[in-house]
């Protein structure tokens, strides 16, 4: 062959009857388009929702999480394997497109450098990476078998083995072509080249044999690839097409801002049937990769409650699949969708079918602590919590279907503006003997309003947090006041339990009070109040600057405005990240700095973004747990495992839950229970009262503020 010739190859070399390709292509394309269409049709039942604002940001995030798979890679090995075979798949698809461009559109693309570098070298290497990835995944899936990967054992196997077979067939074809044509550029496809040499070594030496085998593998490769593509929209590999969409159309609002809803004039409150969800919610269902990461982090699932976020999504998906596939005749259905369970209901029935009680058990939606761990970890940005709350909204507002204990909490919110039934405390109790705590009514406008929150003000245990914070603020010379009896619940428990109406009533009342009192800056000791005041009141016209007490104390310490005696006695300290402070609002650092100032810090295995809920969120504090299914006990076990004698929290609910939980956990372990304390308490105990009494900070350091 002429060494100066342009590198290329003949597209249909050694292949006759190429028209057969097109004969096979049609059914493949029809099955593919049909399957895809059915899915898309399902999404269109959904309600409108704008998810294309800020397109550049969306694109950027899509590139990060879709192409570069940053979120997938948070799990190192599985992430790399996935990256390898998904990119392999992508590159091979591009190579096929290149062939199509050359052969069918007559664009001479397969020659020269493009041919050598991309079509030969890059494609060859990516294909090989894909083989390694697939083998690793198969090994994980069928040999290691972690519990989170329990769905679709059969259909996943079909997909993975099919993909592997197609890849191997591809290399065999390439290798045979290289040896049979004595391809001078063969070495540019190193794996294909090696395969060819291997085959020769195995005895495939005669040209006619090489040609015959080449033809055989060429056609079987084609059939495998086509079959895979036809099957794609009926399998979980569908996420290949849908996940990019769910990543692009992701929620950009802060995680702590629950979707607003219209109440007056709404045809239906919340979600009863699939068609009440938004199109993005329905698209989410098909984007699920069944990776099980959400299942792995879910506290409700961990303690054996019936909720599993993955199953939740897949059960909804199944209901939608039944609907979307309805018009396919029964004879075609199983052939099109092996492994997919098809509901027997009619189209209209399925669309209007009440979800809760049909595909989702009521206990499932009430088990959720809204800890957001699932949403945080999901590699394709599926919004589990918004869906669960939407289902609760319908149950509570339209059906009043809720257990008696949480119902009483809601009733309490309505009657006395707090959810703590039977409390003996009033909001003014905790500061009766603290002369430096005054109400706004007494002081007039101040620098900071201290928003106490029901969970702090109305429980004897957590009142200590309020007293501690007041002591700290006073010591640092902060000008603050409280609302006292004028404060009512922010509405967070009502909102998370699905009673949006009640939430709005309470929120409007508070916004009105705050605006009337000219409040601009707020400190809270409760991350739930913090989140609601900061992220949710804005939509109702209440815009405030909100800081969590750990953030403010950290700042005061950094400014040298608080003298500390030195490390606390009960060190080391382990820190529990409250969901509504950490995952929802990204405050991880301030509490850690406080712990570091107080003693040695030991982290629990699950901390920061992977923190494990205390079990109180989403109104769970007001619901009963079945025996053995207490999230707080599980979290307490994790805290105990660190061996730290002190567990620091930054949330009254966490304090209450963990203080209760560590007793059980310690009894189980036959150990002494660690002390559970809010960081405000720990800092207040460590305050150097002598230095304060002598006047702090000392004059030369600038003196204290009035």
């Amino acid at each position: 062959m002429d060494p100066m010739a342009t590198p290329t190859r003949e597209v249909f070399w050694n292949i006759e009857h190429t028209w057969l390709v097109y004969v096979l292509l049609y059914p493949t394309a029809i099955a593919f388009v049909y399957g895809l269409g059915r899915r898309v049709e399902g999404w269109f039942m959904g309600k409108p929702q704008i998810r294309w604002d800020r397109p550049w940001l969306r694109l950027k995030l899509f590139l990060r999480d879709g192409l570069a798979q940053a979120q997938v890679l948070r799990e190192r090995r599985a992430g790399l394997a996935h990256l390898a075979f998904s990119w392999g798949f992508l590159v091979l698809t591009l190579a096929t497109v290149a062939v199509f461009l050359q052969h069918d559109l007559g664009i001479p693309i397969l020659s020269g450098n493009f041919y050598l570098y991309f079509q030969s070298l890059v494609v060859d290497l990516f294909g090989f990476a894909a083989i390694i990835g697939v083998v690793y995944v198969l090994y994980q899936r069928y040999v290691v078998r972690p519990p989170r990967l329990t769905h679709g054992v059969f259909s996943d196997g079909v997909l993975l083995v099919g993909f592997l077979v197609a890849l191997i067939q591809g290399y065999v074809v390439e290798g045979l072509r290289i040896v049979a044509t004595q391809d001078p550029w063969g070495i540019w496809s190193p794996v294909g080249y090696a395969t060819g040499q291997l085959l020769v070594a195995l005895g495939v030496r005669e040209l006619p044999l090489q040609l015959a085998l080449h033809r055989f593998f060429w056609w079987t490769h084609l059939v495998t690839a086509f079959a895979g593509n036809a099957y794609l929209p009926y399998s979980k590999a569908m996420h290949l097409l849908v996940a990019p969409l769910s990543l692009f159309f992701r929620e950009l609002e802060p995680a702590g801002r629950l979707r607003p809803m219209e109440i007056e004039g709404a045809e239906r409150l919340g979600v009863k049937a699939l068609s009440d969800f938004t199109w993005k919610d329905l698209l989410d269902l098909d984007a699920c990769t069944e990776c099980g990461r959400c299942q792995e982090v879910c506290p409700a699932h961990a303690v054996g409650k019936p909720l599993n976020p993955k199953t939740f999504i897949l059960d909804l998906q199944r209901q939608m699949a039944g609907l979307a596939r309805e018009e396919v005749t029964p004879a075609v259905r199983p052939a099109l969708a092996p492994g997919v369970q098809v509901a027997a209901a009619t189209l209209a029935e399925d669309a209007a079918l009440e979800i809760v009680g049909h595909s989702i058990d009521p206990e499932v939606i009430w088990s959720c602590t809204t800890c957001n761990a699932c949403v945080e970890v999901c590699p394709v940005e599926i919004e589990h919590v918004a869906k669960i709350i939407d289902l609760r909204r319908y149950q509570v507002m339209e059906e009043a279907a809720i257990d008696e204990t949480p119902q009483q909490a809601l009733q309490g919110l309505e009657d006395r503006a707090h959810p703590f039934r039977g409390t003996q405390a009033s909001r003014a109790d905790w500061y009766q003997d603290l002369p430096y705590v005054k109400t706004l009514a007494e002081t007039g406008p101040v620098d900071y309003l201290y928003w106490v929150g029901c969970a702090v003000a109305l429980n004897e245990r957590t009142q200590r947090t309020a007293r501690a914070l007041a002591r700290i603020l006073h010591a640092a010379g902060i000008d603050f006041a409280v609302l006292g009896e004028e404060e009512v619940c922010t509405g967070d428990p009502a909102r998370r339990m699905g009673n949006e109406y009640l939430f709005e009533l309470l929120a409007r009342q508070n916004i009105d009070t705050l605006q009337r009192s000219q409040v601009t800056r707020i400190i809270t000791t409760c991350p739930h109040c913090y989140n609601t005041l900061k992220n949710e009141y804005g939509a109702l016209g209440g815009l405030f600057q909100v800081v969590h007490h750990t953030e403010l104390i950290e700042e005061l310490l950094a400014q040298g405005r608080l003298p500390l005696k030195g490390p606390v006695d009960r060190s080391p300290i382990t820190l529990h990240d409250p969901c509504y402070l950490g995952r929802y609002n990204g405050v991880y650092q301030a509490p850690r700095q406080l712990v570091d100032a107080l003693g040695e810090r030991v982290e629990m295995e699950r901390s920061r973004a992977r923190s494990f809920c205390c079990g109180a969120g989403g109104g769970r504090y007001f619901m009963d747990d079945r025996p053995g299914q207490r999230v707080n006990v599980e979290r307490s076990r994790q805290a105990l495992a660190t061996g730290a004698p002190t567990v620091a929290t930054a949330c009254p609910f966490c304090t209450l839950m963990l203080e209760d939980g560590v007793r059980t956990a310690a009894r189980e372990a036959g150990r002494e229970a660690p002390e559970v304390k809010d960081l405000a308490e720990l800092v207040a105990e460590a305050l150097d009262e002598e230095a304060l009494a002598a006047g702090w900070p000392p004059e030369e350091a600038g003196g204290r503020r009035a």
Partner: protein, 263 residues
């Protein structure tokens, strides 16, 4: 079936004891920051009425006598499933007592469109007297069954399930009749649906004054005078149980408890 439920709006009985205060002049509880709620047994009565309506058809009317915040209670009753609401409102009723209240209610019930059954809470959550129900039945000349927790059947005679020691009694009541309702797991008040709350906000509330009821102010003047009303001051005593050994201490404790008739 037309069921009438008489409800009373009272100070939230769940306020912390520290906040409960009595005005020594008027001898009434001070409202303070407490919210107003429907008296608990009245909620049970409403639930019984709504269940009866759901079973037998017909409608439910709620009647309440009270001050400016009464509509809140009536709206909640409407949201729970009542169809109409009547607010008896008159400055002369400010100081009235059980008998005056009963007179007004009886007059209002007589004015309503042929009620078949009138339900009351067993007793109001504030004064706990349990007088109004029987007095209204007396004034109307209707049979009265007390301590009912559920109804059965759809027509007269209606079966009323009356609480009894360790069980219940079934009383067949020829309608029209009156009943006082006690709490039971069968009549836990439902949580109103938000949709119903919104609809209730739009339903009209009928207002009747004493004149509308054909009553004069002196007919509702109080006949009972409250002499004294005070918040009890809880007193704590501390007794140490003596004893040489743990066993002896336990025996002494048991004896002390027996003397106090605690065990």
């Amino acid at each position: 079936m037309h069921v009438v439920v008489c409800i009373k709006q009272i100070l939230d009985p769940e306020i912390p004891p520290r906040e409960f205060q009595v005005d020594p002049q008027t001898k009434r509880a001070v409202r303070g920051r407490a919210s107003l709620v429907i008296s608990p047994f009245d909620l049970n009565a409403l639930e019984v009425a709504v269940q009866l309506k759901e079973r037998a058809g017909g409608r439910v009317t709620v009647v309440s006598l009270g001050g400016e915040e009464t509509p809140e209670a009536l709206r909640r009753a409407l949201a729970m499933g009542a169809d109409e609401a009547v607010w008896i409102r008159d400055g002369a009723l400010e100081a009235t007592d059980a008998s005056g209240t009963a007179r007004c209610l009886a007059a209002a019930i007589a004015k309503l469109d042929e009620p078949d059954l009138v339900l009351f809470g067993r007793q109001a959550g504030d004064w706990d007297q349990g007088l109004v129900g029987p007095m209204v039945a007396e004034a109307l000349g209707w049979p009265l069954v007390t301590n009912v927790f559920q109804t059965r059947g759809e027509n007269s005679p209606l079966e009323l399930l009356q609480q009894a020691e360790g069980g219940y009694r079934v009383v067949a009541a020829t309608l029209p009749a009156a009943a006082t309702i006690t709490n039971h797991e069968a009549n836990v008040a439902r949580l109103p649906k938000v949709r119903e709350i919104m609809l209730a906000n739009r339903k009209p509330i009928t207002q009747w004054s004493l004149g509308d009821l054909g009553l004069a102010a002196d007919e509702v003047a109080p006949r009972v005078v409250v002499e004294a009303l005070a918040v009890p001051v809880p007193e704590g005593h501390c007794t140490f149980i003596e004893g040489e050994t743990a066993q002896e201490k336990a025996q002494n404790l048991a004896r002390a408890l027996r003397e106090l008739k605690v065990i």
